[in-house]
Structures are given as structure tokens and as C-alpha cells.
Symmetry: C2
């Protein structure tokens, strides 16, 4: 039933030329006379010929494919990042092989598939990489660039925003606005991103002589963050400020405080997020947050990956891009 696809040989036959002539017509840099090219293109059109990328990849040893591993696609930050990456690589003639993994979990199964898929590079979006796989990528000289996650393995490039200083700013700012019962809502306990935000935050508090009032974990998820909020506000005195490790959770905090505790933001409780996703700027929330340079991060990561593919293994780099505090009105006393 499956219709046999048209091959270059059939085109050659119809055009009355050799099969290699047909091939040359579809290779940008090959030299061919206008006359034969026209004959070939006409025959190709008649037959509905399209070059078979798989066969081409086999011989050129280049699949022009990037594997992208994403977790948390429900977070608009990563959905938008993926969209940007796709745009970038499409423009460069690369295709994206998409692998979604649940949070930080089993990249295991997926990594084998990637390695067998002959992808020329791997982009990791908010997903972590087990060390043996990182090593195998290095061994096969397949470049890997991670966005917003680190791995303790040399050979892998990493692009992150300055999570530490973002957290640091949040801590300083909350103290400066006169808060004293300041809580932290972490994301995934295993994510390096959250760890750095937390570290910067705690260091800032310590510097100001304030200790962290409470800590909870929301797994970067809306519902988990709501539950964490309930725990934080179960007994009085409750926190007067919360720094959430991302906007998604910060919004959950605000929603829960308002609807379940009748508390106002920022009059009763101040909230700071991280990312600056579109939702943060909605009037209902007007969330003070730490902006990650999303587009710059993905552009940098993509460029890096492409460079490493082209130069056949550039030395890996770790980049940290600056974050920008965005002061809106979810913290009391804001201008």
C-alpha cells in the first residue's frame, strides 16, 4: 500500500542524465551546467521528487538535527524558550528532535535514544543530565548546552542567569522594605537553579542580620506551591514576606493568600517571584520579580551549540547572564 517513493535514479532516467547529476542539482555547492540542471529540475517536478534526507545524512554523517530535552513545558517560561530555540535552529537549517522529561527525573531512557538518533547537538532546557551520559556525549564529541541547570561534569556548556544575585537582591529588597518574617519557597530540591537562588537569598538575609523565617518546597508547580502556602500560613505569626523561586509559584502564593486567607498583597504579605513571565505583569498580580534574560539566554545557548557543532568541539563554557530586578507592586512600600 505504501507508495514507493521517487528516487534520484528515476529522475536521472527521465532526464536522461546520470544519477550523480541529479544529486548535484540538490547540493548547493556542486557545479552543474544550467542546461542539465533545468532538465533535471523539470523531471524532478514531474515525478514529485524530494531528496531523502536520511540517505543524505548517512553519507554526510550529519543529521542536521538537534535534540532538545525539556521539562516543565507547562511553565510559560520554558514554552517561550523552546519557541525561541526552534525559531533559531529552523533559521539555521537544523531540525529539532523533541524530548520531554518529567521534571528532573529519568533522562536515562531518553538519553540513549538521543545518542542513537545521531543528533549533532543537545540542548537541555531545565533538565539535568546524569554524569555518565554527559561523559558519553563528551566521548562522542556531541556538544551539549544546558540552559538553567548545571551538571558537575566538565565538557558540558551551561548558560544560566545569575540566580545567586537574583536571590540576593530579593533578600536585600525585602529587608529594605522593612520585612522581618521572610519565608522562602523553593522549587525542586534537586535543581541547581533553585539552590543558587536560595543561597543568594539566605546570604543576603544573613548579611542584614535577619534569619529566614521558614522554608517550604513547591516543586515549581502551582498546586504544590498552594499547598506550601497553606502550611506557611497555618499558624500565626505568619510570614510577612515570601520569596518564591519562580513566578509560577509566586502567583500560586498570591492566589492562595487572597482566596483562602483573605490576605492582601502587598498590604499584609509581600511576594517576590523569579523569571518575569508574562503573567507577572498582569494587573491582577503586578508581581515584583527578578527578570531572567530569556531571549538572550536561549540565543546565547543556541549560538554556542551551533559553534561547537561546526568547530567540532569547542572548549565548553559556563556563562552566567545578569538578571534585572523588576519592581512592581507586590512588595509593600514600592515606589
Amino acid at each position: 500500500m505504501k507508495k514507493k517513493s521517487v528516487t534520484s535514479r528515476e529522475v536521472a532516467q527521465l532526464a536522461g542524465v546520470s544519477q550523480s547529476a541529479v544529486s548535484r542539482c540538490f547540493s548547493p555547492k556542486a557545479s552543474i551546467s544550467k542546461k542539465t540542471r533545468d532538465k533535471v529540475l523539470e523531471a524532478a517536478r514531474q515525478l514529485g521528487y524530494r531528496p531523502n534526507t536520511i540517505a543524505r545524512s548517512l553519507i554526510t554523517r550529519s543529521s542536521r538535527t538537534i535534540a532538545v530535552v525539556v521539562s516543565q513545558l507547562d511553565n510559560p517560561f520554558y514554552a517561550l524558550t523552546l519557541a525561541k530555540a526552534s525559531e533559531y535552529f529552523q533559521a539555521e537549517g537544523y531540525h529539532l528532535l523533541l524530548f520531554l522529561v518529567s521534571d528532573d527525573g529519568n533522562t536515562e531512557g531518553v538519553m540513549s535514544e538521543i545518542l542513537e538518533s545521531q543528533a549533532e547537538g543537545i540542548l537541555m532546557l531545565a533538565a539535568s543530565l546524569a554524569t555518565p551520559f554527559a561523559q558519553e556525549c563528551v566521548d562522542r564529541s556531541i556538544p551539549v548546552v544546558m540552559i538553567n541547570r548545571t551538571v558537575d561534569s566538565a565538557g558540558v556548556s551551561q548558560v544560566s542567569s545569575d540566580n545567586y544575585h537574583g536571590g540576593h537582591w530579593a533578600g536585600r529588597y525585602l529587608v529594605a522594605q522593612g520585612h522581618s518574617r521572610i519565608a522562602f519557597l523553593n522549587g525542586l530540591p534537586t535543581s541547581s537553579t533553585g539552590a543558587y537562588r536560595r543561597l543568594g537569598f539566605l546570604d543576603a538575609l544573613a548579611l542584614e542580620g535577619v534569619s529566614c523565617w521558614a522554608e517550604e518546597c513547591g516543586d515549581y508547580r502551582f498546586d504544590k506551591a498552594s499547598e506550601a502556602t497553606r502550611r506557611l500560613f497555618a499558624k500565626s505569626p505568619y510570614p510577612d514576606a515570601i520569596f518564591a523561586a519562580n513566578d509560577h509559584m509566586a502567583i500560586a502564593v498570591i492566589e492562595t493568600l487572597r482566596s483562602e486567607f483573605g490576605l492582601r498583597v502587598p498590604e499584609d504579605v509581600s511576594v517576590i517571584g523569579f523569571d518575569d513571565t508574562p503573567v507577572a505583569s498582569w494587573p491582577s498580580f503586578h508581581l515584583t520579580t527578578v527578570r531572567q534574560p530569556r531571549e538572550e539566554m536561549v540565543a546565547t545557548a543556541s549560538r554556542l551549540l551551533l559553534e561547537q557543532i561546526r568547530e567540532g568541539q569547542l572548549s565548553p563554557v559556563q556563562l552566567t547572564l545578569p538578571v534585572v530586578p523588576v519592581i512592581r507592586s507586590s512588595v509593600r512600600g514600592a515606589v
Copy 2:
């Protein structure tokens, strides 16, 4: 610089067997003795051998790859749908080749790439398909399933929710709640989805003897929907109810009404959306909406695509899945 990858021949040599024996070790259904299998696997392990999927695809004529074309990834509805599709196909041993297109625009360039990529099936998510390409897919017997978009071409399968009746319900409900100045906020003028929601809506109003107060277009985008809202409420008397073609825009309407016009929902204006995305249920909005059976839609579409791939072109089907009204409190007089 690129390290030569290990081939099955090298493994065969080390294991002291033929190259085909190695191949058989990595084909599930091939028969091979435990002894040789062990020898081969050990040799493979030592060398770090991984079968080359590209070479395999070339000979089996099956890439085990699905091309998925998505637009509007910034809409959580589609991000979640994509996530589900990925889960489904990954479980079935298929890989997803991701193509993002801007709204309904140029699928043109992308379709050529897909056809050349040897994908075995095409999943279209909120993206439309130019007729000649649809025809070419049929000619090559590459199954295509579209989710939430239709194309006037036979041979393409389509899974949609019952947009017409969803719109119809919205219209009836708004009239039943006593509204008389009811406006419609459309999505993309070119999308069939929006067209059906509109049609059902207008038919319902007509049935009740009410005419549509005003119509605007928000392109399914947040900012455009805000602008449309401003136009709708620029002069009095303004609408007392709005049906937006999706939740994303409905939320934008609510935000704009509250922050810029000081209007309350539902006391001053009622709002209905479409989709039932997570945001709709946030306490700040508590949006009355029409739920699309998202998971069922994507499961159905994926299953369909897989069936058609396996049976080598099943006759295409058009499925319409029922929607469910979700009554919350963004329409006045709700229970």
C-alpha cells in the same frame, strides 16, 4: 576532530562473529543464541557501540519519526497538548520532530522540510495546511491528523472539539442570564476553530432574538485582546457581556476591564472563555468557560495517526469531541 563512531562491523570483529549477528542482537524479533548474544553485548559495551538509527531507517524505510507542527505555543492549551503528544509517542517508540510556525502563516517552507525528513506521520496542532501540501501528503501516503483546525481537503484526518455547540451554549447562556448587549471577541480570522465558535454563538443569539452587539478580533493574543477590549468599551453604552474565542483572550478582557475601566466581572460585565486552561480556574478569574477535552483530543489524534501509519493509510476520519460548559462565576447570576 569528530571522533569516528563505532560500527557494528567493529563490534563483530571484537566479538569474533559476523556483522549480521551484531545486527540481530539489536533487533528485538531476530533469533540469536544466548552465547553469541552475550559475546556481542560485551564487545558492544567495551566499545561503547550504539546502533545508528539513520542507517536503520534507510533500509527499513521507517524513520519512527512524527513531525509535529505547532503554532501558538505561548498558549498553555497547546503547550500542554504538545506535552501529552510527546508522552504518547515516546511511549510508542516514536520521536517527535518539532516545527513551530507563526500562527496560521507560512507552513509552506516547513512542509517541504517535513516531506524531505521522511517523517512517517504529521500532527498539526492549531496550524493549518495549504491544500497542495495536503494533497502531496496523500499522494505519498503520509498520514496527517489535525487537531483543532480543518482543511478543505479530503485525505486528512481531523480531531476537533465541538466548537459550534460550545459557541452555541455560550450564546444561550448569556441570554439566559439576562444579557442583551453581547459582544464576540474572535481569534484569528482565518482559523476554522474560531469561525465555528462564532457561528454557533451567533446562531444561538439569533434563536433567542438577540443580535450581536459588537464583534472584534483579538488574534488569540493577549495584547490584541486587550486592545480589542478598549475599542469595545470606548463608547457607552458598552457591552454587558463578552464571549471570547479562547480563555487566553477572556483573561485579557477581564484584566483590561478591571484595571483600565474599573469595571467588575461579573457585576458590570460578564465574560465567557473557551478551553478551560488552568488559568481559568484561578480564584482571581474563576472564569466560566467551555472546556475542550484536551487530553482526549490529543490521545485520539495520536492513536489515529499511529493506526494510519501502521495500516498504511486508513481512510481519514473527521472527529468532533463534545465540549463541556464549566460554570464558574464570571457570568452574573451564576448559581
